[in-house]
């Protein structure tokens, strides 16, 4: 009894310390996940904590639950629009990309460290999948804005490639256990069954969950719990039927997330919390499980694998998997760089040990070092690299400060409370001139704690709270009335975003006349917005480019699905090809090696 309580005390202390440490690391700008890992190590056998934790079965069970939740949450956060814009390149990265990453890493491990091919491939498979939360955090917290399509691709990839990495690892473990008997087609058939069942049961799980949620009259607090129960049911059921429970979770998350269900806001927040708990637990566990004193002997191998993975395997995989999709070279380089590793390799590294494969400790140690190097090297530099490669756009107008309320799900309206930001449309125009869309209703305004009625308001002020009833389809448009206006962030625009700017609503004809574009007749009567949507497709997003004769049109700002601001970049031979050279030169001169390179150049003179 007392032992159990002590265990609980230690676990809760660790959790508490993680949260505080997380707060600290945010101030220092250190990758959050790294902090949890470090804390686990401090508590572990070689740290001051001295906890000798070695329970693989328990770790595997916890890991499974945590991954299921992380994947469901990942799906839940993926809006359909993101999926529509990026499913093809993301799928290519998540299947072909993972296979190539694992293959190239394995080849490196085989040639450089003389691992036998199957063990080398197991090593590659363990570290092949990128980690959704790590990528989300690297992209989200750094304030870097990427082209919409690139961001969507990276996000969907990181959520959907885990099932592939897990499948490959499990298949390898099975092959090694069967001591390499020829089972070639068996693996392929197994792949089809796992992914097929995962997809199907995940879809059913998500639909069933949405249906149940809207059907059952429960105490409000029970809806998130219902979701959790159905989630884990789908996960374990799919896995027991021979499907990929991980894929089922991601699919179920997407399906459920796209439905209009009651208590959704509450459920999303609940899963946000669970996702954090899962992350913290996974990284604490890894820190506890690893024995730094054993690492010394294998540091060379592990670092070697990390370097091969980061600098060879991932870039090759990205280049091949993204080849048909028209991403620019800097974008591909950036995609290669943000292939962050996180919880999945750690979890997968447990499998060889559980299957009783020889030297299973090695896999664990390598996975540990790979994740560590990836988080430090890539996680810390993602924003810097984005700016250097020129893939960073001007920052998004800061997100609206809003609170959503769960309405009856039969009503097709969202109730949202906005806190008005300074420099927003709401503060810059008189209340009567705001021209909110027809179907949007301002319910009430609260200023300094007092409720105002509409006639009393001449102009909204920063920090007013505005209660708005809006159709869900218009919520993005409404956001823009209360968040900072685009123009207040436009100072960050650089020449790569356009020499000049035109309004999305202006006519193509006047644009053609001003810049001699070869578009006669083809585009008469169109607006610039209509032209770009027609040429790029309905999934057009910020940062997309269209070359028209001597100029490039760049989507700079969008409101909802409409293009608001367009950059006009003048392209000429004398600046285009030297662009990367200039960038390389400025990188050498102003990068971390700057002073050193400068001295070298001076000496050369």
């Amino acid at each position: 009894m007392t032992a159990g309580l002590v265990g609980l005390l230690v676990a809760s202390l660790l959790l508490f310390a993680s949260i505080l440490a997380g707060l600290l690391s945010a101030r220092l700008g250190a990758p959050l996940l790294l902090t949890f890992l470090g804390l686990g190590m401090l508590a572990g056998e070689d740290g001051p904590g001295g906890i000798a934790y070695d329970n693989l079965d328990l770790s595997f069970l916890i890991g499974n639950c945590a991954l299921a939740i992380i994947l469901f949450d990942g799906g839940l956060r993926t809006p359909l629009a993101t999926l529509q814009a990026a499913w093809a390149p993301a799928l290519s990265l998540a299947t072909l990309g993972v296979l190539i990453t694992a293959g190239v890493t394995a080849a490196g491990a085989h040639w450089l460290f003389h691992l036998d091919p199957l063990h080398a491939f197991l090593m590659g498979a363990i570290v092949a999948a990128t980690d959704a939360p790590a990528v989300f955090m690297a992209l989200g917290h750094t304030g870097v804005t990427l082209r919409d399509r690139l961001r969507a691709t990276l996000e969907v990839e990181s959520g959907s490639n885990d099932p592939m990495g897990i499948f490959l690892t499990m298949a390898c473990v099975a092959l090694i256990q069967a001591s390499g008997q020829a089972v070639g087609w068996g693996v392929a058939a197994d792949f089809v069954r796992q992914m097929g069942l995962g997809l199907l049961l995940g879809w059913f799980g998500g639909m069933g969950l949405a249906w149940l949620t809207n059907r059952l009259e429960l105490a409000a607090g029970l809806y998130p719990i219902l979701t959790l129960a159905v989630c884990l049911l789908t996960f374990s059921g799919t896995a027991l039927l021979g499907g990929s429970g991980y894929l089922a979770m991601y699919v179920a998350g997407i399906v459920y997330g796209s439905r209009r269900v009651r208590a959704k806001t509450m459920t999303c927040r609940f899963f946000d919390g669970l996702m954090w708990l899962s992350q913290i637990t996974m990284f604490l566990l890894l820190g506890l499980l690893v024995s730094p004193h054993q690492l010394a002997g294998q540091a060379f191998l592990a670092l070697g694998i990390a370097v091969i993975l980061i600098f060879v395997a991932r870039p090759v995989a990205v280049a091949l998997a993204l080849a048909p999709f028209g991403f620019s070279m800097p974008e591909q380089l950036f995609a290669a760089w943000v292939g962050l590793r996180g919880a999945v390799p750690i979890f997968l590294a447990l499998l060889p040990a559980m299957a009783g494969i020889d030297e299973s400790r090695t896999y664990f140690n390598v996975a540990f070092v790979v994740v560590l190097v990836s988080l430090v090297l890539q996680g810390w530099t993602a924003a810097w690299v984005a700016r250097r490669l020129g893939v960073a756009l001007a920052p998004n107008p800061e997100a609206a400060d809003k609170l959503e309320f769960d309405m009856l799900h039969q009503i097709d309206r969202d109730l949202v409370a906005y806190t008005v930001k300074p420099h927003s449309r709401a503060t810059d125009f008189a209340f009567a001139e705001l021209a909110v869309p027809d179907r949007v209703r301002v319910v009430t305004v609260i200023r300094d704690g007092a409720v105002l009625s509409s006639p009393e308001i001449d102009r909204l002020r920063a920090d007013d709270v505005v209660l708005v009833l809006t159709p869900p389809a218009l919520s993005l448009v409404v956001d823009r009335f209360f968040s900072r206006r685009f123009k207040s962030t436009a100072a960050h625009l650089r020449r790569e975003h356009g020499d000049f700017f035109v309004d999305g609503a202006s006519s193509v004809e006047s644009l053609v006349r001003a810049y001699d574009l070869p578009l006669e007749g083809a585009a008469s009567g169109l607006t610039v917005n209509g032209l770009l949507k027609g040429r790029i497709g309905s999934t057009v997003g910020r940062g997309d480019r269209l070359r028209v004769g001597p100029v490039e049109l760049i989507v700079i700002d969008m409101i909802g699905r409409d293009i608001k601001e367009v950059g006009v970049r003048l392209c000429f031979e004398d600046d285009q090809p030297t662009d990367w050279r200039r960038r390389l030169r400025s990188f050498l001169a102003h990068g971390p090696l700057g002073p050193f390179v400068g001295r070298l150049l001076d000496r050369g003179r």
């Binding site: 436009a490 700017f501 309004d503 006047s510 367009v566 600046d575």
Partner: protein, 152 residues
């Protein structure tokens, strides 16, 4: 740049209190340089502004347009005495303006000239120097020399 501007096409201390007045002043000066109607130039500039502001940010504006009877591409630089609201993309007041006028059939020459002006004025160091100079000669020297050194 030397083909675009002469010392005569520099205004070292333009006085204007708003966007319209500044464009009118530039149109007047450009009409002296090119022999075209002031009103026509002003209308062409306004038409371009309707498409979207040419205040490209950081206090810079590059109004431009095309005229039927021009013999070549003309440039005109103005340093404003006091910064004015130009409805710029970043909402910052504008104090450096470069006007560019091109013949109707200029095609690539027009865009190349625009690209050069745009590149030159995105250079912070150049803009700071331009802001610090008060004589037309110094401004002319800055504009022409800096580009020469850029090209090298």
């Amino acid at each position: 740049m030397i083909e675009l501007i002469t010392p005569a096409s520099i205004i070292a201390n333009l006085r204007a209190s708003n966007k319209k007045q500044a464009l009118q002043e530039l149109a007047r000066k450009a009409s002296e340089l090119t022999g075209q109607h002031e009103r026509m130039i002003f209308d062409v500039l306004l038409e371009r502004e309707r498409l979207g502001t040419t205040g490209v940010g950081q206090g810079i504006a590059i109004p431009h347009g095309k005229l039927a009877n021009l013999d070549r591409v003309y440039g005109l630089f103005a340093r404003l005495e006091r910064p004015i609201d130009f409805d710029a993309i970043d909402e910052q007041p504008v104090d450096l303006m470069f006007l560019l006028l091109a013949p109707e059939q200029a095609g690539a020459d027009h865009l190349k000239a625009l690209a050069r002006v745009s590149r030159l004025l995105r250079d912070h160091a150049v803009c700071e120097k331009l802001r610090g100079s008060t004589s037309a000669d110094a401004l002319y020297a800055l504009l022409t020399q800096t580009e020469a050194s850029h090209a090298a």
